[in-house]
């Protein structure tokens, strides 16, 4: 029981204590005593002056306007009571707060205010200008792209106009290019062309005028200049001065709160009804900046702007003092400028664009190559080559295939002989030997192929043969007119053997071509000997060996001497022909039966002579000039 007594006592004491503390905490401030408890009577202020009872401005800002509200309530009371001393005190306190905010001491309130206003508007400019810059860049960039497109299409029309004026109405070199969605091949008259040209020129002019403005607005937005800063400061001061001295104090404390609020939150910034009189305190707003940039930008107006002749009337007026404006002269200036722009559009890019579409090229490296200025001559040659074969706007499939091979090959450093339709991918010494064969017309004269050749393409490259030979000829794509010679050997110390191998494979290529032509209806009697071997081999041979055997036996009969003669010529006729016969027999020795035909005369060939050929071939190989300076 004793314990309970102590407990009750303790609880009672605690209750009393807490009641006292709570009461003391809710005691009203001096301001509220006066405001709500009507303590403003003289009796209640017996001992303190009014400014001593009224709280000072608070500068404890939060993420809202509560502090500003409270300060305004204090200000309202001071204004009612006309407490000048309080006013002056807050005036100084605001200066202190600005100094604190800007971390700079000021000699006077006005100086602090000016710096504060300047700081506010500087921040406004920094905050609002990027939005406008982004807006105008978004307007300018698509506009610029549109104009590039218009110019490109005007260039297309320029090229088509040249064609039509030259009489080419139905066989455009650039059928895949378009103007206003119309394919160039569909433009067959100058009237149709003019119609499209007129629309494009107008669209270009309008866009050019707008782009001109955008460029200079962007330029101004990039640097608005000190005049704008001054103008904003003046406007801010004007706004400040539009209030009486009490409200100016209210504005200043609001601005301190507002800047804090803006630092934390994002626009749009709302202003509560109680502070509505200060809501337009920001001067450098987006509309103000935009209007200023528009009105104060440089650059005047574009030549393509309809206002241009009036603004620049001194250029077009009839006489020094005035007179009518010569609009035709303005039109002529516009046309000259437009022609200049069109001329600046690189023609090679236009040609490349057509080729990429016509050849259906999707490989990125090939596209880059076609667009590269460095290879514009190759590009022109390819386009002109295709045009030579184009009839009624259509290029034959084998020419398209050749052109595709050309793009692939040139990208790998190959050379193209459009006349002979030969792609040469050989390099260094190998290429040197091929060039010599070509220079002496030996390739052509020996195999008599790919001359007057309109349907077949030959590609010569370095590579590996599936069948472990020194070289091979791939006729797998002959249906598309393509034959490929793959050289696995390099010329090295045996340049003449290399040349003989090139000729050997060239003959295979020619036979592939002949067989394909034969299947398409060419007279088979042109290769009587080949057919003879083909049919004889077919009687006794497995199918997979007929072709190889027939071709090689045909070569053994017909080409041994021509190859030997070509190699002798390539070696500057250093030795008699018999020294070069071994080169002719290379690859054919096992097919040499007992002789061959030489211009219709049967030449006996026995194995002893063949052995002699080996010996003589070695002498030629050891002493040929092609091993020295002629081909390095």
């Amino acid at each position: 029981m004793k314990t309970y007594k102590y407990l009750y006592k303790a609880i009672l004491i605690l209750l009393l204590l807490s009641s006292y503390l709570t009461h003391s905490q809710i005691r009203p401030s001096e301001f509220f005593k006066r405001q709500w408890l009507d303590l403003d009577s003289d009796a209640s202020l017996c001992c303190n002056s009014l400014d001593e009872t009224l709280d000072d401005f608070s500068f404890n800002w939060d993420y809202n306007y509560n502090t500003a509200f409270n300060n305004l309530a204090l200000l309202e009371q001071a204004k009612l009571d006309e407490i000048e001393s309080w006013y002056r005190k807050q005036y100084n306190l605001i200066q202190d707060e600005i100094e604190k905010q800007l971390d700079t001491p000021f000699n006077s309130y006005d100086q602090a205010k000016k710096a504060f206003f300047s700081d506010i508007e500087g921040k406004n400019i920094t905050r609002n200008t990027p939005v406008l810059l982004s807006k105008y860049k978004k307007l300018y960039n698509p506009g610029r792209n549109k104009n590039r497109k218009y110019l490109k299409e005007l260039k297309h029309l320029q090229l088509r106009e040249i064609e039509i004026r030259a009489g080419n109405r139905n066989n455009s070199q650039f059928p895949y290019l378009q103007a206003k969605g119309v394919s160039l091949k569909e433009i067959t008259s100058l009237s149709k062309l003019s119609e499209l040209k007129y629309d494009l020129e107008n669209a270009f002019g309008n866009q050019k005028s707008r782009n001109h403005e955008y460029v200079y607005i962007i330029e101004k937005l990039d640097y608005l200049g000190s005049d704008f800063d001054k103008e904003m400061l003046n406007l801010k001061n004007k706004f400040y001065k539009s209030f009486d001295k009490w409200d100016q104090l209210g504005l200043m404390q609001f601005l301190l709160n507002y800047e804090h609020y803006k630092d934390i939150l994002r626009p749009p910034y709302s202003t509560p009804d109680e502070l509505v009189e200060f809501q337009y305190s920001d001067m450098a707003t987006e509309p103000v900046i935009e209007e200023y940039a528009k009105n104060n930008r440089g650059g005047g107006v574009s030549l393509f702007d309809p206002r241009y002749p009036e603004i620049n009337r001194y250029l077009y007026q009839n006489n020094f003092c005035g007179g009518y404006i010569d609009l035709m002269a303005w039109e002529a200036d516009k046309q000259a400028a437009l022609d200049g722009y069109i001329d600046d559009v690189p023609t090679h890019r236009i040609i490349a664009s057509n080729l990429i579409q016509e050849l259906n090229i999707t490989n990125q490296n090939q596209i880059e190559w076609l667009n590269s200025y460095t290879y514009k001559n190759d590009l022109n040659n390819l386009s002109n080559f295709m045009q030579n074969y184009r009839v009624n706007g259509i290029v034959p499939a084998e020419v398209i295939n050749f052109a595709k091979e050309v793009v692939k090959a040139i990208l790998n450093g190959a050379e193209v002989d459009y006349e002979e339709r030969i792609i040469n991918g050989l390099t260094g010494k190998d290429k040197c030997i091929y060039d010599k064969l070509k220079k002496l017309s030996l390739f052509k004269s020996t195999i008599k192929t790919f001359e007057n050749n309109d349907n077949y393409n030959l590609t010569i490259i370095n590579g590996n043969c599936t069948n472990t030979s020194t070289a091979c000829t791939d006729g797998g794509d002959i249906n598309h007119g393509n034959v490929k010679i793959i050289m696995e050997i390099v010329s090295g110390n045996f340049p003449l053997e290399y040349a003989a191998t090139l000729l050997h494979e060239g003959i295979h290529a020619e036979i592939f071509k002949y067989v394909d032509e034969h299947e398409k209806g060419i007279d088979p009697n042109r290769r009587e000997n080949l057919l003879y071997h083909y049919f004889e081999q077919k009687k006794i041979q497995k199918p997979n060996l007929v072709n190889t055997a027939a071709q090689h036996q045909h070569m053994a009969d017909k080409y041994v001497k021509p190859i030997a003669e070509a190699i002798r010529k390539l070696d500057n006729n250093q030795y008699p022909l018999e020294y070069y016969m071994g080169f002719g027999w290379d690859g054919l020795r096992s097919y040499g039966f007992d002789g061959y035909f030489n211009n219709g005369n049967w030449v006996n060939l026995n194995k002893d002579q063949s052995t002699e050929y080996y010996r003589k071939q070695k002498i030629v190989n050891d002493n040929t000039n092609l091993k020295g300076n002629e081909c390095r």
């Binding site: 599936t466 472990t468 030979s469 091979c472 199918p543 997979n544 072709n547 190889t548 219709g600």
Partner: protein, 224 residues
């Protein structure tokens, strides 16, 4: 993981072990069977093609004499020609050849037009063109009909001016072989050379009938 699950489930350990090892061995065995079927068929095809080009008398390249001057393609072989052919055939038949094989079946690096020639299923052909990796050949598993010598084509031959044809008679180079699911059809590319400038390559479509592979159709790709 299965062991852990079994522990969790408190299954009888012995029953579980038997089940586990049965499953494991059947899985392993099924893989092995599949692998060995492919191997078996691979070497059947390689043996067929090697013999096709080398061993049988019919597959020797016959040298036909040129037609006499002025004759047309109606020219027939003379008795002398026939005798020479027979002599050649005899010499070729009794000669023991050295056949060199490239050590690896090469991967396919480009597509070849073949569908229109043999009317092959495009999907099957595409899966052939997708065989990019090379695979080693075991010479001991190739059955030669004749007592020719089978060797690997050495890299050193490749660097020789003669391409090694003074030491070998024939060189064969096989691509990877694509089989259908039932091992009834196959596609392969073969490169064949009789000399440094005397050979060809072709693509072959094979069919298996009554346990034997046959060439159904072919297309020549290149010639040397």
């Amino acid at each position: 993981m299965i062991i852990l699950i079994s522990k969790e489930m408190n299954v009888d350990n012995r029953i579980f072990k038997i089940l586990f090892f049965t499953l494991l061995s059947s899985f392993y065995y099924s893989c092995r069977v599949d692998n060995s079927i492919e191997k078996e068929n691979t070497y059947q095809v390689l043996s067929l093609l090697t013999n096709e080009f080398t061993a049988n008398s019919k597959k020797i390249i016959f040298k036909i004499p040129p037609p006499p001057d002025g004759s047309k393609s109606k020219h027939k072989l003379s008795i002398k020609d026939s005798l020479l052919l027979y002599k050649q055939f005899y010499e070729e038949t009794i000669k023991q050849k050295v056949i060199a094989l490239k050590p690896k079946m090469f991967g396919i690096d480009k597509k070849h037009p073949f569908k229109e020639v043999c009317n092959i299923n495009q999907k099957f052909l595409n899966s052939f063109f997708n065989l990019k990796d090379s695979k080693k050949i075991n010479l001991n598993k190739i059955n030669l009909n004749k007592k020719d010598s089978l060797i690997y084509y050495s890299d050193s031959y490749k660097k020789m001016r003669t391409k090694g044809f003074d030491k070998i008679d024939i060189c064969l180079n096989f691509s990877r072989i694509n089989f259908d699911r039932d091992y009834k059809e196959a596609i392969v590319i073969v490169g064949l050379s009789y000399g440094k400038l005397d050979g060809f390559s072709a693509i072959y479509f094979l069919e298996k009938k009554k346990g034997n592979w046959y060439i159904k159709c072919e297309k020549e790709l290149s010639i040397s």
